[in-house]
Subunit: 103 residues, 2 copies
DNA sequence: GCATCTATATAGAACATCTATACAAAAGTC
DNA sequence: GACTTTTGTATAGATGTTCTATATAGATGC
């Protein structure tokens, strides 16, 4: 996975619907049809970092299977961060495109 | 800069026309209008790595200003690598798009 | 002769991601 | 009712790219 995109993917996934850790990675794998597979060792450090920085908030609850799970929701700061990351991503895609196919 | 895209940018820039180190970074900055600014400390390690791996070949020559400069050209292996990186990039852009704006 | 510009180079730090492993609790299984 | 499997969270250690900062060298200008 491209370093620097994971936060974007996590924030957007949680924004659409609060989820617990593994559910986030499941959704990313599913919707990208396996292009991005975020394993626990990458996922949880990222979640902890995002929580530490105040972009997401975790609370113990239940998973769809009825197991105990920490459910994360996005915070107002997280939405701002997500909007900024989106802009940044668009800019990067445009810039790379310009290098790959200069007009 | 997003980690992992530098190789792609360098390979494509050199493919279009062989250049020496600083000329590569100048062109990238120019064509992306300052979105990507590759400083020497990032550029040269990347060039050396790409050369070590056989994707580009450097030869001492002259810059446009008539200074001594190491001019890099892409190798057949480099073209293959570039094609692969392009595909990979397209796939990533598509996948991120799917997460950001699911249909 | 001394500063400045071009150009290459490297050391060291920072940081996100990956591999691998560990741990816990619930559910199934016989 | 022990035992395995499944679900879920967690962390340690390694890896590798990029960034900051600095060094070096040769030309050019004045």
């Amino acid at each position: 996975m491209l370093k620097g995109t994971l936060d974007l993917l996590i924030l957007r996934t949680i924004e659409l619907q609060p989820r617990h850790g593994l559910a986030v990675s499941e959704r990313i794998a599913q919707i990208t049809r396996g292009t991005f597979v975020v394993k626990p060792g990458s996922l949880f450090p990222a979640l902890h970092r995002l929580e530490q920085e105040g972009y997401i908030a975790g609370a113990w609850g239940e998973s769809a299977q009825g197991r105990r799970a920490k459910v994360y929701d996005i915070t107002p700061a997280g939405r701002k961060r997500l909007a900024a990351e989106r802009k940044s991503w668009d800019r990067i895609v445009t810039a790379v495109g310009q290098v790959l196919d200069p007009t």
